[in-house]
């Protein structure tokens, strides 16, 4: 009895194991398929409809380049349509805000990361904890608090100096820098943590002053982290809607705010076209940064 039943049990569990493994194999194979499908399908549709002949997004009627042509004509100034002009304006605003906010946030964020990793000063723990705040608090909370802060500050300035300040690029950029600093700092800190502190000590031993050590040793080594942080910041800045909406002034709508404003009516394929251009641009940027990082990594 015992031998045969044991065999049976073994065979049963083996069969079960095999079934589980098989299921796992299929699952493992399906996982990336679904992941990429859900990630890319909407983007493919967006790109596809930027070539749609009809203004509607309900059906694809034919291939056309006219939406890109409209944008190009407006850029070249050959034919200025008011509706395209305000969209392009939003696009330019997005790029401008993104670039300036990224530059400031990257510099500040990298400095904070360095101070927290290498320095020792009172309140370090507190700053370390506070750094994560913009990452964890809901965006809407930050947006409203920034909006109220600017209003109070501007009212205060108005009563003191009599000068009325309106929100505009400066408020959007300040707001974007505020949340971007954290992201940059976190990315750069991760890179610093991976770095061997002995390299800096060795530089010191060999007589380099801290300034020289920073530029010759630390900075080149954290550069990939700084670049990734900057790219992350730029992407977040381009994407941001909620905070921008609450801090923007007159004529400073960025592309997401503009597109949101279109919701009342049908979103035109021109918006698809400009989104496609933006996507190609950011893909290019990320590609360049990846190439740069691979090069610097192979050199070390």
């Amino acid at each position: 009895m015992s031998v045969s039943s044991e065999l049976l049990i073994n065979e049963g569990s083996m069969r079960r194991n095999r079934a589980v493994r098989r299921f796992g194999q299929i699952g493992l194979w399906l996982n990336p398929v679904f992941a990429y499908f859900f990630l890319w399908a909407p983007i493919v549709i967006l790109v596809l409809f930027s070539f749609n002949d009809s203004r509607s997004v309900a059906s694809f009627t034919g291939f056309t380049l006219k939406w890109y042509n409209n944008i190009l004509n407006n850029v070249m100034g050959a034919e200025r349509a008011f509706s395209t002009e305000i969209m392009l304006n939003a696009f330019r605003n997005s790029l401008f805000v993104g670039t300036v906010a990224t530059a400031i946030a990257t510099a500040l964020g990298a400095m904070i990361a360095l101070a927290l990793a290498r320095g020792n000063f009172p309140g370090k723990k507190l700053i370390d904890g506070l750094l994560f705040l913009p990452v964890v608090i809901p965006e809407i909370t930050q947006a409203i608090s920034l909006a109220i802060f600017f209003k109070v500050a501007f009212d205060w300035i108005a009563t003191i100096s009599g000068e009325r300040i309106f929100p505009g690029f400066h408020t959007i950029i300040m707001a974007h820098v505020t949340f971007n600093i954290s992201f940059v700092a976190i990315v750069v800190r991760a890179r610093l943590a991976d770095m061997d502190p002995q390299l800096e000590e060795a530089a010191n031993d060999l007589g380099a002053n801290p300034w020289r050590t920073f530029w010759r040793i630390t900075f080149p080594l954290v550069l990939p982290g700084v670049v990734s942080g900057a790219l992350l910041a730029f992407t977040l800045s381009l994407d941001d809607f909620v905070i921008t909406f609450f801090t923007s002034g007159v004529g400073t709508s960025t592309l997401p705010v503009f597109v949101y404003g279109l919701l009342k009516l049908t979103v035109t394929p021109e918006v698809n076209a400009i989104s496609t251009i933006m996507m190609v641009l950011s893909t290019l940027l990320i590609g360049i940064s990846l190439v740069l990082q691979a090069r610097s990594a192979s050199r070390v």
Partner: protein, 361 residues
């Protein structure tokens, strides 16, 4: 003698044409003293003709900043937290009333706006702003039913056809409009604040909403276009948009004979506007016969401008479309929505939420 008579007759026939020629509309001219100034406009998206702003910039020698919003609430949120610097906003009726109560609007100086004489008299002094102290009409339209002409070859004339249709229907997620229609059937004031009447309207709609598949947040036209519904209760402009997009006769718009909601979007000046004088000049410009006609020809909403309508600047096709300019006997049955106050609004919100639950939304 006969020849002379004939000549006179011909001259008489020609005369109106000749007079019309003589009265060729003079282009709007900007008052002096605004060169180099800036005007900031906050308007709904796709709600202005391509050349309206550039022409104004040229006429006055000014620069215009132009931003868009997608709902009254979004615009209100921006102005409430402190006007970021807009001179012109385009709130709809209820929003004008609410903003006036919250002291968010600057009273208009009607003397600076002589073209107020062009406005259709019936549209002046609306319930939400009885003396036009804060607002003048920009464009207006109606809520009605968009339907598939394949399913309804004979058209829709009554809300009963909507209630009784054996097929998918989309309502508009505009509580005061939908309840207002029910109030019409029950013989009550569409803007009633009476709790019993509001509940009665809710029950009426629950009873009639068996065929409702969705209560759409202003995208009923897309559902109709995709064939998901046969009827969509929607704004007239949205239904016209899909007919225009597909260049076909598959969809039509009708205002049922029992009546429906009329909405009016208005030009107003928000509090703390940096340049209210230029804003009033702009309002006067918009109310010019030619400018108003160009607006309507581009965005296909009804013009509140009698002079535009009379001058013949508006395309015949638009002027004769009952979906855009409803015939007078229908206008009489239209109701405007006013701000009913916080107490009634809470009642309406509750009634609407209950209704949505009953309809399985």
């Amino acid at each position: 003698m006969k020849k002379l008579m004939l000549l006179i007759t011909i001259l008489c026939l020609l005369a109106p044409g000749a007079i019309a020629q003589d009265m060729e509309h003079e282009p709007w001219t900007c008052p002096d003293g605004y060169e180099g100034q800036t005007l900031s406009i906050f308007n709904w998206s796709t709600y202005i003709a391509e050349d309206t702003v550039p022409n104004f910039e040229e006429a006055c020698g000014v620069t215009v900043n132009y931003d868009i919003y997608e709902s009254n609430e979004a615009m209100l949120a921006r102005i409430r937290q402190g006007n970021p610097g807009y001179d012109i906003i385009v709130p709809s009726g209820g929003a004008v009333q609410r903003m006036a109560e919250e002291m968010l609007l600057i009273p208009l100086d009607l003397e600076m706006i002589p073209n107020i004489a062009n406005v259709i008299p019936d549209l002046l002094g609306p319930a939400y702003d009885p003396e036009n102290k804060y607002s003048l009409p920009y464009q207006w339209g109606t809520v009605g039913v968009g339907y598939s002409t394949e399913v309804f070859p004979d058209g829709i004339h009554s809300w009963d056809q909507v209630w009784e249709h054996d097929g998918p229907v989309a309502w508009l997620d505009d509580r005061q409009t939908m309840l207002g229609i029910a109030h019409l059937f029950l013989g009550n004031d569409p803007n009633t604040t009476d709790p019993d009447e509001i509940n009665a309207a809710r029950d009426y709609l629950i009873e009639k909403g068996g065929n409702v598949v969705t209560v759409a947040a202003d995208d009923g036209q897309v559902l109709l276009e995709r064939g998901d519904v046969d009827i969509a209760v929607e704004y007239n402009g949205d239904i016209l948009q899909i007919s225009w997009d597909c260049e076909c006769d598959d969809y039509a718009y009708a205002i049922p004979e029992e009546g429906s909601n009329v909405w009016i979007d208005n030009l107003s000046i928000p509090v703390d506007a940096p340049n209210p004088e230029l804003a009033m000049v702009f309002i006067d410009y918009i109310l010019d016969a030619k400018v108003g006609a160009d607006l309507t020809n581009y965005i296909w909403y009804a013009s509140p401008n009698q002079a535009s309508i009379d001058s013949g600047y508006i395309d015949e096709e638009i002027l004769n479309d009952p979906a855009i300019f409803p015939p007078p006997e229908q206008v009489a049955n239209l109701f405007a929505i006013i701000d009913v106050g916080a107490e009634a609004e809470a009642l309406i919100n509750n009634a609407w939420d209950e209704l949505l639950i009953f309809l399985g939304q």
